[in-house]
């Protein structure tokens, strides 16, 4: 066996007949942080949603191996149980469902999947308290409805909080920095860094180098027109910051 957590091979996907991903290849090893950058409309969000199993997209070709599993054959909830987490670019509001109830349902669904008993109320509350601290999430937010009335920054912190609770093997952060002021960005990035380990990996999707000052990537990929057109180290992000995307577009 190779030592890959995620192996994306020639992945094609479309929505309403329009092909968005045109052959993505990406390999992620445990402990690595990969940044995916690229201009608007290049397919960055689509890649994250297809990996998470959003039924709005149709996979038209390719394969994805996720620590030995055929990822594309799994339901979205099983992908989650197996350790794939997507921090949404636009976290949806779910009125009437408290964050506490929501996380409890999520965590216990995962435990059930692995044949474990539901977590006791006391243990769960302890866990919530502990994980909340990672992103400095207010206690009050946890008792409110999922994302309802949260500010942009609170929503993103709430995403990282959920990530902390579910302890995924692979986290995909879809433009987690968009709409964040510098303080919120620091808190969110700090949360992500605290959760980093040798065994779990992160894919950071972003437009800007700024986030990468806080979350240091091992690799930077440039996604353009549904394909990864360039891969490099952290210096590639700096070069993009300086030169913009036009030279990429011209070269492809």
């Amino acid at each position: 066996m190779n030592n890959l957590l995620l192996d994306v091979k020639d992945l094609h996907a479309s929505i309403e007949g329009k092909e968005i991903l045109k052959g993505i290849n990406l390999q992620v090893r445990p402990g690595e942080v990969h940044a995916i950058m690229g201009p608007n409309g290049s397919g960055k969000s689509t890649l994250s949603e297809v990996l998470a199993g959003d039924p709005a997209f149709t996979v038209t070709g390719g394969a994805v191996d996720f620590h030995g599993l055929d990822l594309l054959s799994l339901s979205p909830e099983d992908r989650s149980h197996e350790g794939l987490f997507l921090s949404f670019q636009y976290p949806v509001e779910i009125p009437g469902v408290s964050m506490v109830n929501f996380m409890r349902a999520a965590l216990n669904a995962k435990r059930k999947y692995f044949g474990e008993e539901p977590m006791s109320a006391g243990d769960f509350l302890k866990l919530m308290r502990q994980k909340r601290a990672i992103v400095e999430l207010d206690n009050k937010l946890a008792s409110r409805s999922v994302n309802e009335g949260f500010s942009g920054g609170e929503k993103k912190r709430n995403e990282i909080f959920q990530m902390a609770v579910l302890e995924p093997r692979l986290s995909i952060l879809d433009e987690t920095d968009s709409g964040l002021d510098i303080d919120a960005l620091r808190i969110v990035a700090g949360g992500v860094n605290k959760l980093r380990s040798d065994s779990n990996s992160t894919i950071v999707i972003t437009h800007y180098q700024r986030l990468l000052d806080y979350i240091k990537p091992d690799f930077v990929h440039i996604l353009y027109n549904g394909r990864i057109v360039m891969t490099g180290g952290p210096e590639l992000a700096l070069e993009l910051e300086e030169r913009g995307y036009d030279w990429i577009k011209e070269a492809n």
Binding site: G53, D54, R79, I94, V97
Partner: protein, 505 residues
């Protein structure tokens, strides 16, 4: 019982929530898991020797019912008068319902489990009956009876057994079947019967007044706070019959009672008619909480069979500072026509109506309330939550009326609809009629749909679609569910999940 007990499984104080989770009512999330995959579990029939009269309706049938129940002459007259009025009336057609023609001559108006000369103790009750109610979660034997809740069990046309009645009698509380009340407390019954819902009130009320069979009678004397929940469990068992129950609740000055009703019926291909009347009279400073979990057989997924639930429920807040709270969770019945209403006659009287109505498949519901403000400074609150799925039609219909002399009144109405499919319908028909300047009426309404984005968000966090819908629906209905007594709230949460199973996707 802590009426305001929050049904959220987890609060902010860990100790507190732990103790909640350890009680026998179970955890709502577990319940949702438990019921995912289950179907209407009350659809069984019981093999009980039943005395059933031939189908058809005329004055002789009414005389026969009255004779079987050994009623006094005045009550027979009451019935006959109602029947003659009914003959001149036509079925109301204003509701947003498609009601197939009903052949009133094809229904049997009286069906009673046969008994040896009036069972006095449990030994005389048909074991099959006890078994039936056990299966429904309503133990009738005193030693096994639910603690903290007295139950009147009604099967088809008669009351089978009322538990805890001796204990209640010590406080002067009367809780018995309607038939017994006619026999033992004729003056009370005569004084109040038909005073809130006159026999001429509407088509189904007239029919009920003519042929009503059994139901419950409650009288709470002055100054008494009823120490336990009173509950009537209605069960239709016999085929080809209708159920026409009659409930009368009187709360005298400064008294309090919480009353619950539950209903189930076997799964049958035919439609069965249930036309009930509930009358509630509340005197000075008295309070009545009336809760319903209605789970009549709703018909199959193609809309075959099911109960027609045509019910008139009305309370009269007669005394000053009297209070009536309606809470209903309506999940069953093929067709529901039901508007629990309050006449706020007393000064500063208060009424609330909290409703969750769920329709799935081909169910139709036209339900809501009327708040009639006659007394000065009377207040009412209406919170209605409609949930429609499948091909169902779900309507809220409400009237808030404030008369010229009823100055200083307040009403707040909140009317929400949640749609779970693109083939269902949600409709709102609010009527507001205010005839003075000093009253304040507020009306808010929302319509929402569970979005695919919400479902995918839940899925991504590991929550299955069924569980996600249950979470969202229970969250949406929480405000009403929290008003139910604890035992019912858990049952009602399960019901919501079962009723909506497979409705999103």
């Amino acid at each position: 019982m802590d009426k305001e007990l929050d049904k959220e499984p987890l609060g902010e104080k860990p100790g507190e929530s732990q103790s909640r989770n350890n009680d026998q009512t179970g955890h709502p999330d577990d319940i949702i898991h438990e019921v995912t995959g289950s179907e209407y579990k009350y659809g069984f029939t019981s093999d009980i020797d039943t005395d059933i009269i031939p189908v058809g309706l005329d004055e002789d049938v009414i005389r026969l019912i009255s004779a079987k129940k050994q009623e006094p002459e005045w009550l027979l007259e009451f019935r006959l008068k109602a029947y003659r009025k009914w003959l001149t009336m036509t079925m109301p057609t204003w509701a947003h319902l498609d009601i197939p023609p009903i052949d009133y001559q094809a229904i049997s108006y009286f069906a009673a489990p046969k008994k040896k000369d009036g069972p006095k103790s449990m030994d005389d009750v048909d074991p099959e009956l006890i078994k039936t109610f056990d299966k429904l979660g309503i133990p009738l034997e005193e030693r096994a009876a639910l603690t903290g809740m007295a139950v009147d069990a009604v099967m088809d046309s008669v009351s089978v057994k009322t538990t805890h009645r001796e204990k209640l009698a010590e406080l002067g509380i009367i809780f018995c079947s309607f038939s017994e009340a006619v026999r033992d407390y004729p003056d009370l019954v005569k004084k109040y019967l038909g005073t809130v819902v006159p026999p001429t009130d509407n088509y189904f009320a007239a029919l009920n007044s003519a042929v009503f069979s059994d139901g419950s009678f409650v009288y709470i004397p002055k100054g008494v706070r009823c120490p336990m929940e009173l509950s009537t469990y209605f069960r239709i068992n016999a085929a080809g019959t209708g159920q026409f129950e009659r409930t009368l609740i009187v709360a005298d000055d400064d008294s309090y009672v919480s009353y619950l009703e539950g209903c189930t019926a076997p799964m049958r291909d035919e439609n069965q008619l249930h036309a009930a009347i509930v009358e509630i009279i509340i005197e000075n400073r008295a309070e009545v909480k009336y809760s319903t979990v209605q789970n009549w057989w709703a018909g199959d997924k193609d809309g075959k069979g099911g109960i027609y639930n045509f019910v008139t429920k009305r309370g009269l807040c007669r005394g000053d500072h009297s209070k009536l709270s309606w809470t209903q969770v309506e999940t069953g019945s093929a067709i529901t026509w039901k508007y629990p209403s309050t006449i706020l006659k007393g000064e500063s009287s208060v009424s609330e109506f909290y409703s969750v109505a769920v329709t799935n498949n081909y169910q139709q519901a036209d339900t809501g309330t009327k708040m009639i403000h006659l007394g000065k400074n009377s207040r009412s609150t209406i919170v209605s939550k409609g949930i429609s799925a499948g091909h169902s039609q779900n309507s809220y219909r409400g009237l808030v009326k404030v008369t010229p002399k009823a100055t200083g009144c307040r009403n707040y109405t909140q009317c929400d609809s949640l749609l779970l499919s693109s083939t269902c319908g949600a409709h709102t028909f609010p009527y507001i009629d205010v005839l003075n300047d000093s009253s304040v009426i507020e009306h808010e309404a929302t319509t929402s749909k569970i979005s695919e984005d919400q479902i995918f968000y839940c899925n991504q966090r590991g929550i299955s679609t069924e569980d996600a819908v249950a979470l969202i629906v229970n969250g949406y209905a929480k405000e009403v569910m929290n008003k139910l007594p604890m035992e019912f709230a858990v049952e009602a949460q399960k019901l919501l999940a079962v009723t909506l199973e497979g409705s999103v996707g």
